[in-house]
């Protein structure tokens, strides 16, 4: 009983702590940008007593982008946590399953055949690109499942097939990318590096249902991830419908990653690193690991995006690059410090 209490207490504390940091970062992020707004003015604006300019900057540009960062940070992190759990492989992440490559290929094809588009994305492409990305990601996931299916899907087969599909999409990607004109190539590179370019309220509304419905559902499914980790035989003996649960979980991972990549681009490393960071602080139980991963991912992406917006303002660094540049050293530090 003591032990049980202990394990419950610590995750709650960790999650509360993370949530507090997220709120803090959120305020700092609201204040900073190419146009600085003092904390007092931010609060004024939020309660509706700010100047028109502040209102425009905050409500139309900064706020939706930050909310998107939080949402897809959480989405990618959970997706990574599911994939690592289902495949029982610590190297698994949405990127490895070809979801990023599938989305990337769709977007690159779109840019390639839609040449002569004005730089700075036109309103048409801003709505078509996420749809293309989602379709590409879904296609990759569908292919993986088809090829990995053989009286069920074993974790190892899934990962191996994922690598194969990823390589195939990657090959097609580079062929088209090298045929592009330099300007389009640059645009594609920036997208592939992961940049939250779809930042307005429509996108928030587009992503919100995915994340807000799927994440709680995933957390509800967490115990199955624990059982699946014991190996298929034991899981079956414990009465889990292994194959069905695995398929459901995979679908969740793909949907979360696909929706995130569609608006955020190919943000690498986040889905890999967030679950590992979470595991270090709350341990391997998925009931607490999943929410902690989500908070980790949200925090990491919000902070990264804030830095990416400001460090070379007015030009922006793709957020995916900042995530790697920030996350990797810390991850390395953890590797060295924690056993």
């Amino acid at each position: 009983m003591e032990a049980v209490k202990k394990t419950i207490k610590k995750p709650m504390f960790v999650m509360g702590f993370l949530a507090a940091i997220i709120v803090l970062s959120f305020f700092i992020s609201l204040n900073t940008g190419y146009i600085r707004i003092s904390p007092l003015d931010v609060i004024k604006t939020l309660v509706g007593a700010g100047t028109e300019k502040d209102q425009l900057v905050l409500f139309d540009f900064r706020l939706p982008r930050m909310i998107i960062a939080l949402l897809i940070g959480a989405g990618l992190a959970i997706s990574g946590a599911i994939l690592q759990g289902v495949s029982q492989n610590g190297l698994a992440d949405p990127g490895i399953l070809g979801i990023n490559a599938g989305s990337g290929l769709a977007v690159v094809l779109f840019i390639f055949f839609y040449q002569g588009s004005t730089y700075g994305l036109g309103s048409f492409s801003i709505f078509v690109m996420p749809i293309a990305a989602l379709a590409g990601g879904a296609l990759a996931a569908f292919l993986i499942y088809i090829f990995a299916w053989k009286n069920g899907v074993t974790p190892i087969r899934l990962i191996l097939v994922g690598i194969g599909i990823n390589a195939a999409f990657g090959a097609a990607l580079i062929i088209f990318q090298l045929k592009m004109n330099p300007k389009d190539f640059m645009k594609a590179t920036i997208w592939l590096s992961g940049s939250i370019w779809g930042a307005n309220w429509e996108f928030v509304l587009a992503v919100l249902p995915w994340i807000c419905i799927l994440i709680p559902f995933t957390i509800y499914k967490a115990r199955y991830l624990n059982v699946l980790n014991l190996g298929d035989q034991i899981a079956t003996q414990l009465g889990a419908a292994v194959e069905r649960e695995r398929r459901t979980l995979l679908l969740l991972a793909v949907a979360l990653a696909g929706a995130s990549v569609a608006v955020g681009g190919g943000i690498a490393f986040l889905g890999l690193v967030a679950p590992h960071l979470a595991r270090k602080v709350v341990g391997p139980k998925h009931q607490v690991l999943l929410p902690t991963s989500a908070l980790m991912g949200a925090l990491l992406l919000l902070v990264s995006d804030t830095i990416g917006r400001n460090i070379l303002a007015p030009s922006e660094i793709p957020v995916g690059l900042v995530v790697s540049a920030l996350g990797a050293p810390y991850f390395i530090y953890l590797l060295i410090k924690v056993n």
Partner: protein, 346 residues
């Protein structure tokens, strides 16, 4: 992280198939020689096999065809064979050492380190010579590997396979993000992509000359190491129980990976899929004994890249298709077929 396998699968896992392996070595070698001859003969200008023979062994500098063979096609095809063998062998060692089917030589930070240095060279020292770029690239590969290995070694609990793989992923992400930022900022992204997607096109004799000693040292070390890798692939605890000094094997293994992959990346850019898929194919064919896996991987890797390079020139002449894309196109169907088979194991 360890695969939970049933007993039945375990017994399958420890099978070795020397007969198949010997067959692969001999027949594979013959096919490889044919492939090399074909690769010299086919191209923008077709050259008969007789002339190929003459051009290689009775070189006459006055004949244009002989010049084409000597200056363009011969170094290119030798480089293709060597690079293919290098990548396949380092992939096999990598997978054996880490016991992770996802491990490819790239994950040791070799490619990321090389790309990082190349990005710096393109951004800050435009007009660096071909040889200079090779050197930059190899230095970068060394840097990447040292980083990964150091992080893995200094971590609490020592250099476990998982730690090594994760350290590799972290270092790769870090270096890649910096090089992409440099590439975007200095507008050299496409130049860098061309350099890396170029494959063995335009390989000069100097690259081949640099690769020969690497081949001798690296491949010999790999063959010497083969038995220890087999033991290591059973797991660190088993290896220690059998009296193996795992750290020595890992250090030498890492040096081999650095030499082979570093040279391959410097000469041919990124041909990512090869180092990952060939060891899997080989294991499927010859079983789990690395004394067979390593030489057979070398042959199959060389064969795949020679054929892919031929394809790179033939698909859309006179333009080159990125060879990495073709290795993927050839390798993926194979790989998917294997992934569906039950017979596997590391």
């Amino acid at each position: 992280m360890d695969q939970q396998t049933s007993f039945q699968e375990d017994t399958k896992k420890f099978k070795s198939r020397p007969v198949v392996a010997t067959f692969i070595l001999f027949v594979g070698f013959l096919v490889l020689v044919l492939g090399i001859a074909g690769s010299i003969s086919f191209g923008a200008a077709d050259i008969g096999l007789k002339t190929v023979w003459a051009g290689v062994f009775e070189f006459n500098p006055d004949l244009t065809t002989h010049q084409i063979i000597q200056e363009l096609r011969l170094p290119r095809v030798i480089a293709a064979a060597l690079v293919g063998a290098f990548l396949a062998v380092s992939g096999a060692i990598m997978q054996g050492m880490t016991r992770n089917p996802l491990a490819s030589p790239d994950i040791m930070g070799v490619t990321a380190g090389s790309a990082f240095m190349i990005a710096i060279a393109f951004a800050f020292f435009p007009g660096t010579s071909y040889l200079g770029l090779l050197m930059w690239s190899f230095a970068g590969a060394g840097m990447g590997v040292c980083l990964v290995f150091a992080i893995g070694s200094f971590s609490k609990g020592g250099l476990t396979p998982v730690k090594m793989a994760l350290a590799g992923a972290a270092v790769t992400a870090l270096l890649d993000s910096i090089s992409t930022a440099i590439a975007i900022h200095f507008r050299v992204a496409q130049d860098i992509s061309f350099w890396y997607a170029g494959g063995v096109a335009g390989t000069k004799w100097i690259s081949v000359q640099l690769m020969i000693p690497v081949a001798v040292i690296g491949l010999c070390l790999a063959f010497i190491l083969a038995r220890s890798i087999t033991v290591l692939s059973l797991g660190d605890d088993v290896a220690k129980g059998l009296g193996q000094s795992t750290i020595v094997v890992k250090v030498i293994g890492t040096i081999v990976i650095l030499l082979l992959t570093g040279a391959a990346v410097s000469v041919a850019g990124t041909i990512g899929f090869l180092g990952l898929v060939i060891p899997h194919i080989t294991r499927f064919l010859v079983g789990v004994d690395y004394r067979w896996i390593i030489p057979c991987s070398a042959i199959l890797g060389a064969l795949l890249l020679v054929l892919a390079d031929l394809g790179a020139r033939m698909i859309n002449p006179p333009f080159e298709t990125p060879v990495g894309a073709i290795t993927a196109m050839i390798g993926v169907p194979f790989f998917l077929y294997l992934a569906r088979q039950e017979r596997r194991g590391l």
